[in-house]
């Protein structure tokens, strides 16, 4: 069955939405591999973590896995329909990187107090750099998306 497709425009919004979970998932994996496993700055389990936070951490972890896969399949789906806009997808990806970084820095580390970035005295400096990078990524993602939208219209 072939469909007549008179105006097959790339779908910017859905391209963005599909790539955000990919960025989130990649940053979560980077966090897990570099900071937990290689540098061992973070702890797998911190005895100072409240029980409720342990519970919510499990839910977050599970949600990350599912969102990553959802993003992956949305991406493939859009591509096969030729509706993917690569610039918007990159914007979403970078936005996802920053969103996870900032979320991890503020909610996981500070509000839930799951663990800290590193167990040292000048922790505030680490927190500052961590969250600044998150904001930087988010700003770059927004900038790129506006660029994609400007080019499309």
């Amino acid at each position: 069955m072939t469909h007549a497709k008179p105006c097959l425009k790339p779908d910017l919004k859905r391209s963005l939405r599909a790539a955000v979970p990919l960025g989130i998932g990649l940053m979560a994996a980077v966090d897990e591999i570099i900071f937990h496993q290689i540098l061992a700055w973070h702890h797998f389990f911190d005895w100072g973590t409240p029980a409720l936070s342990l519970f919510s951490d499990g839910l977050l972890h599970s949600g990350e896995l599912i969102f990553f896969m959802l993003g992956f399949f949305m991406f493939i789906d859009l591509r096969s329909r030729k509706r993917l806009d690569l610039t918007a997808a990159w914007a979403g990806f970078i936005l996802g990187l920053g969103a996870f970084q900032l979320f991890d820095g503020i909610v996981d580390h500070k509000l839930l107090r799951l663990h800290q970035i590193r167990y040292v005295d000048n922790l505030w400096l680490y927190d500052l750099v961590w969250n600044a990078f998150g904001l930087l990524f988010i700003a770059a993602g927004i900038f790129l998306y506006r660029h994609a939208r400007g080019r499309a219209s």
Binding site: H3, K5, R14, L65, I66, M69, R81, R83
Partner: protein, 268 residues
């Protein structure tokens, strides 16, 4: 205390989880070859079922089985293979679909009728399956049940059988390609996958942090290593389940025309 009774449970396990799956594999191969003469049966499915069988058999063979008996890390590896990776291979081999297509239409209807009986329907519901699978693990590792099962041969065999059966049931009920009557909608199944994955990760951390299971000879370092294996190994297996779930969903979606899929006003 354990070792003089050790010969029997391992032999029983070998028979149940090594030999029996191989017999089933032979039936599977026969049916698949017969079916492929007239119609399509994916070689991927065939490979998946074969790998699942091999994983089960490998985990009850002496090297791993012996290690599992005196080291909690070995037990955890065996648990992951029997309860997650083995069933994953079996379920995505779609043995149920193969069976239904190999028997007469009347018999196939009979099989589906059995699955519709209320108690069976309740048993194969994703929520029940998740409780049996993940809930069973909480019961096993957070209570003295683990130490008990290591000392009692019958419990030991039943426990390992439970790993395989509940793992299969869970994987099938949430993401399996085989048909199931009265299967709840995708949103419910995704929610169950979400909660079960979280529960598995939380259990891994609880075991790591508080040294579960108690009452064994394992040192804290050994328990912590085992708990981390459970956490990361479980992640990989759950990830495969999630892939299977979305792959089926998007494959079905891809058969729909764009106009039915797109809801956004931008879409034409």
């Amino acid at each position: 205390m354990i070792h003089h009774s050790w010969g029997h449970p391992s032999a029983a396990l070998w028979l149940l989880l090594g030999i029996l799956p191989f017999i089933l594999l032979c039936f599977y191969l026969l049916a698949a070859v017969r079916l492929r003469r007239t119609t399509r049966w994916s070689l991927w499915r065939l490979a998946s079922f074969t790998v699942g069988t091999l994983v089960l058999a490998a985990s009850v063979l002496p090297p791993l089985a012996d290690w599992a008996h005196h080291d909690l890390r070995g037990h955890m590896l065996q648990h992951l293979c029997l309860g997650m990776f083995g069933p994953l291979g079996l379920v995505f081999g779609a043995p149920g679909s193969l069976l239904l297509r190999s028997v007469s239409a009347q018999r196939a209807r009979g099989i589906m009728t059995i699955l519709r009986i209320r108690p069976v329907r309740l048993l194969i519901h994703p929520v029940t399956a998740a409780f049996l699978d993940i809930g069973g693990m909480y019961l096993l590792y957070l209570t003295p049940f683990y130490a008990l099962s290591m000392a009692n041969s019958l419990l030991f065999v039943l426990l390992h059988l439970h790993f395989v059966l509940s793992g299969y049931l869970f994987t099938w009920s949430v993401a399996g390609p085989d048909p199931a009557p009265h299967r709840p909608p995708r949103s419910v199944r995704l929610l169950v996958i979400f909660l079960a994955t979280a529960a598995h990760a939380i259990l891994g951390k609880l075991m790591y942090g508080y040294g579960y299971p108690h009452g064994t000879a394992a040192s804290l370092a050994e328990i912590q290593a085992a708990a981390q294996w459970m956490y990361y190994g479980g992640d990989i297996a759950e990830f495969c389940i999630i892939i299977g779930f979305f792959a089926a969903w998007f494959r079905q979606r891809s058969t729909l025309p764009d106009a039915l899929v797109d809801k956004s006003p931008q879409a034409r």
